[in-house]
């Protein structure tokens, strides 16, 4: 019976069955014993499967399929055996073969095409279960080749007299369409017929499901079928069918607003009548997401949602909350009405419910309640489990930062909230908080004093250094304290905090931020000491050390612009004594000297920078101190010059500028863009915009981790990839390059030199070319950024991210919908000749070829009667019949208003709807 490595007779007779295999696996302990048993069985299977006896082969394949599916054993090598078994006359073998194929075949399986003939044979079998096997297998392993070759066979099955076969072939059709869109041209009208013939609920359910799937990808093509769906919505009592029809209407209603008026009542009827929660929920969801402008319907839906919310079944409560979340954007009252339930749900045991409740709470947030809501939520966060606590923090962070902190009015409050979050024990959102602290520092000038105060609070707390989750926040605090040290009440205190011994708990990257901040603080202290404010100008003129010296300017600038500084500046003048400076230098030198040999190069480099400065200063200042009597002026010291230069570099309050910043400057009122500027725009459009992710480059650029200290500023300026900019930078830039800017005659913005908001209409005209250009390159133009009432927030690109690319239908979907349109609009004659009955009302199909659509639009309207393939005087007949139907709700409406927004090149879809 066998030769070579084939199975012996004994093998066949005493072959283990699948049951034996399963029991055997269960007998062996998981781990090594089990896997050795499996590999032993696999050896047996390899032998048995070569048997010429189909029963032996079938059993072997069965076992292999089992091992494959549940134990992940590879069985691609056995593909041919599966194909072989499908052709067995025995049903059991055939079934085994098909099961193996559908569970293990992949598009790349080489023997795939060998199955085509067998599938065809079985699809036309008289045994409905054989047909069903083939359909099932095809629905899983379908490839374009299969779909192309077998479309005719499935086409035949679509009119099978057995609904058992029909429903399965319909379900299988979806896969065939997606693999081979041309199949739509062949099969679509039969699919539509199945929609109309209501002889089997399951067939109808399968058909509607297929339409639901198709419509979810590209709804427009199915608009002409709306009357048919409407009929089903009104007539069907099958919940499965109704749910799918509702989903279809949810899609169609987006395209055809007039549909809503028609279907909203039947949907409400279903809500009132139905016992099935699934159907009720689907009705509610459809109403609140697609028909929210119908007040009475929404009220009914919200009432149902309330029932759900109060139900004892957690699933219903969860879905109720979900429903409420869908209502929220358009009908916030519904949420407010159920506020208690929502808030109570925040402390539910069920995580799903908690999360939904959290989302709902966040949906209620507005600029006047954000403080209150955040306070409540932080309270919940403190008593929640870590996971949910972080979920809450994440929601707060994302909601508050949405659209460039749109809802935040009191930034001092928000900054202290961020610091408060850092102190919540479970907080794991360090990264986001770090980002926001720095981001706010750069965007909102007025908040910097508070930011420094908050940063100080975090830095001086040694306990926080022990929690790795908030190291990132500390990093932000250190950066802020260094960058905006001029707002600090006590820079020496910050210096101590930055140099405290426990900083050795920080990872090197953050430690280097600390050290760099030390550098900034030190240079600030030295500067304040060497150049007490009052004397600067007089000294300058007296000594004439550096004509054109710019430092005093910038110093004055920030003292003038920021009121807060002046108060602390007074204090500082007394603070920076010889003694305190000596102390701080000693502190720096003693704390940092051990780090000179640190393993981390970043740390080492920064430490050397700081030490270099500190030692130089110490030497100069102490020697100067000794020679006090000689009255050598401080300004003469070598260190003075250096400090001035350094401070010069550091004190510039610049954020990085995006290379396409020019493009983003709002265009002033009444501005007519000159030709040369529009040329400039078109040139800019050729430059690829950075991906939206790269807009978050703030961090790497502003943390002084990326370059050495002094040139850091230059890095920032030169950085092309950076996406952030500060208002002052723009202002500065405008000063320098004033001639490239058009004078602004309207100063709405707080920053007087910032160009005011644009005139949208003006912009539209000028932008036409640009829009075209950008459309071509798939980068859509952002809408102009109107200036907002809180000009203190520098709004950057983030508020204006590159538009999310509209869900792209894949090529096949386009092909499918194209084919559907052809069938529905183009070939309707043949469609009708194939229709077996004319009994149905609400028949919908275009009576016109695409090319006729323009002329016949006005006569195309909902026809409730089947046109029995009678093409003569078609239009007249339709309009007549539609008039007959126009009594009651079914009012014929002209399409003259043409409110379907059809894309230019698409055929106009006629109005059958009303």
């Amino acid at each position: 019976m066998s030769g070579g490595g084939g199975p012996s007779l004994m093998d066949s007779l005493f072959q283990r069955t699948l049951d034996d295999l399963i029991k055997g696996i269960r007998l062996h302990l998981p781990g090594a014993p089990q896997s050795s048993f499996i590999s032993k069985s696999l050896d047996e299977i390899r032998r048995e499967i070569k048997s010429t006896d189909l029963q032996t082969k079938s059993t072997a394949l069965q076992k292999l399929t089992y091992l494959h599916s549940l134990h992940g054993i590879d069985m691609s090598w056995a593909a041919f055996h599966a194909v072989e078994l499908t052709s067995s006359p025995s049903f059991l073998h055939k079934k085994t073969g098909y099961l193996a194929a559908s569970l293990s075949f992949r598009p790349s399986t080489d023997v795939l095409l060998l199955l085509t003939n067998q599938l065809r044979k079985d699809l036309s079998s008289t045994n409905q279960h054989e047909v069903s096997l083939a359909l099932e297998c095809l629905s899983v392993i379908c490839t374009p080749d299969f779909a192309r070759d077998l479309t005719p066979d499935i086409f035949v099955l679509l009119t099978s007299s057995k609904s058992f076969i029909r429903k399965k072939s319909i379900a299988c059709l979806l896969m065939v369409f997606s693999q081979y869109p041309d199949a739509v041209r062949v099969c679509f009208k039969r699919l539509v017929e199945n929609l109309e013939s209501g002889d089997s609920a399951q067939t109808l359910a399968a058909t509607v499901s297929v339409f639901c799937e198709l419509a979810s990808k590209e709804p427009r093509s199915y608009l002409p079928l709306a009357p048919e769906f409407y009929r089903i919505l009104v007539e069907s009592r099958n919940n499965w069918v109704l749910i799918k029809v509702l989903k279809i209407f949810a899609q169609l209603a987006k395209l055809e607003p007039r549909l809503a008026k028609k279907v909203v009542e039947p949907i409400c009827d279903h809500i009132k009548r139905s016992e099935a929660k699934s159907l009720v929920f689907e009705c509610v969801r459809t109403i609140v997401s697609s028909f929210h402008e119908y007040e009475f319907a929404v009220k009914l839906a919200v009432a149902k949602i309330r029932e759900f919310l109060l139900d004892s079944d957690l699933n219903l409560r969860y879905l109720g909350l979900q429903g409420l979340l869908l209502v929220a954007p358009n009908h916030l009252w519904a949420v407010l009405e159920n506020k208690e339930v929502v808030i109570k749900s925040l402390s539910d045991v069920d995580r799903n419910i908690k999360l939904e409740a959290l989302r709902l709470v966040m949906s209620m947030v507005s600029d006047d309640n954000v403080v209150e809501i955040c306070r409540v939520l932080i309270g919940y966060a403190l008593k929640s489990d870590p996971e949910f606590c972080n979920e809450i923090l994440r929601s707060i962070l994302s909601t508050c930062s949405r659209n460039v902190y749109e809802i935040i009015i009191d930034f001092d409050w928000y900054v202290s909230l961020l610091a408060e979050m850092a102190r919540i024990p479970h907080c794991q959102n360090g990264e986001e908080i770090e980002y926001q602290l720095i981001d706010i520092g750069m965007r909102v000038k007025d908040v910097r004093p508070e930011l420094v105060r908050v940063g100080r609070g975090l830095l001086i707390d040694p306990a926080l250094l022990g929690n790795p989750f908030i190291h990132r926040i500390l990093s932000a605090a250190a950066w802020v304290s260094g960058e905006y040290v001029q707002f600090s009440r006590n820079p020496f205190e910050i210096m101590e905090a930055l140099l405290q011994p426990r900083t050795n708990l920080l990872p090197p990257s953050i430690r280097s931020v600390y050290i760099h901040s030390t550098f900034k603080v030190l240079s600030f202290c030295l500067h304040s000491f060497l150049f007490p404010k009052k004397e600067v100008n007089s000294l300058l003129s007296d000594n004439d050390i550096e004509p054109g010296f710019t430092y005093s300017e910038s110093e004055q600038e920030f003292t003038e612009t920021d009121q807060a500084t002046s108060s602390s500046a007074f204090q500082k003048r007394d603070t920076f004594t010889q003694e305190s400076i000596d102390n701080v230098l000693t502190l720096v030198i003693t704390s940092l000297t051990p780090l000179v040999e640190n393993h981390d190069v970043e740390i080492q480099e920064r430490v050397r920078n700081v030490l270099g400065l500190a030692q130089l200063a110490q030497k100069d200042i102490s020697s100067h101190h000794d020679q006090k009597e000689k009255m050598v002026d401080k300004m003469d010291l070598k260190v003075s010059i250096i400090i001035r230069l350094i401070n010069d570099a550091l004190s510039e309050d610049f954020g990085p500028i995006p290379f396409n910043a020019q493009e983003r400057v709002p265009i002033p009122d009444g501005l007519v863009l000159e030709e040369n500027l529009s040329k400039l725009d078109s040139i800019c459009a050729d430059v690829p915009l950075p991906k939206s992710e790269s807009f978050s480059l703030l961090k790497p650029i502003n943390l002084p981790t990326d370059g050495d200290s002094i040139s850091n500023q230059h890095n920032e300026e030169e950085s092309e990839t950076s996406a952030a900019e500060s208002m002052s930078l723009l202002a500065e830039h405008r000063k320098k390059h004033g001639l490239f800017y058009l004078s602004s005659n309207d100063n709405k913005n707080a920053s007087s030199s910032f160009p005011p908001a644009n005139d949208p209409s003006q912009r539209d005209n000028d932008m036409e070319d640009l829009v075209k250009l950008t459309e071509e390159s798939l980068v859509l133009k952002r809408k102009p950024n109107l200036s907002r009432p809180r000009p203190v927030v520098v709004k950057l690109d983030e508020g204006d991210r590159l538009p999310i690319i509209v869900k792209k239908t894949d090529e096949n979907d386009d092909l499918i919908s194209g084919a559907v349109r052809d069938v529905l609009l183009g070939n309707e004659t043949s469609l009708h000749s194939n229709n077996p009955s004319g009994r149905r009302k609400g028949k919908t199909s275009s009576k016109d070829k695409v090319e006729n659509s323009e002329t016949s639009n006005s006569s195309k309207r909902r026809s409730k009667h089947r046109n029995h393939g009678n093409n003569v005087d078609k239009k007249e007949e339709i309009s007549e019949k539609s008039k007959q139907k126009s009594g009651g709700r079914h009012r014929a409406r002209r399409r003259a208003d043409g409110d379907i927004d059809v894309a230019v090149q698409k055929p106009v879809i006629p109005d059958f709807l009303l």
Binding site: P89, L135, W240, S278
Partner: protein
């Protein structure tokens, strides 16, 4: 559409898995493992839905129901109704109950192919084709009969020829 139907026991062992979009088997197992890692942490008496975005890709949801030691899981997208999927689990389990009367995990372990047969009668290509457990049963019984016919004749028609071609 329905993306997958999975049965796993409360120790995470898969008992049945059927994916309606082609998914390599190792990926299937990975999905099953991550689903289990979520399910096993679910406390009792909570809602039976899980948002599957992180495990199962965008627009996917998961509904499960625990019967004795077994989780019955459906993975689906927004074209399906959550509560309807819940009902579908019920139909499936009802059918199993009719098949095995007092169904327990062992029945399910030992009747691997029957589990598939039942499932295939209810869902094809990710679409629900039958929701009436009576009708599912009827079809399953017919299929069993067909299988038995062949099993009985296997010794008679022991063919040595390959039937391919």
């Amino acid at each position: 559409m329905i993306r997958a139907m999975i049965v796993i026991n409360n120790q995470g062992k898969p008992r049945l898995s059927k994916f309606y979009n082609y998914t390599p088997v190792d990926q299937q197992h990975q999905v099953i493992r991550s689903i289990y890692s979520v399910l096993c942490l679910q406390p009792e008496n909570v809602s039976n839905f899980i948002e599957g975005g992180s495990i199962l890709g965008p627009d996917s949801r998961l509904v499960y129901k625990l019967f004795a030691t077994l989780y019955f899981i459906f993975v689906f997208d927004s074209s399906e109704n959550e509560l309807a999927m819940f009902d579908l689990i019920q139909v499936y389990v009802e059918t199993l109950e009719k098949c095995f009367s007092n169904v327990c995990e062992l029945d399910i372990v030992l009747n691997y192919s029957k589990m598939h047969t039942i499932l295939d009668e209810m869902i094809l290509g990710g679409q629900v084709v039958e929701t009436n457990s009576e009708k599912v049963m009827q079809a399953v019984e017919e299929i069993s009969k067909l299988e038995k016919v062949t099993a009985a004749t296997k010794f008679i028609s022991k063919s040595t020829s390959l039937l391919w071609g």
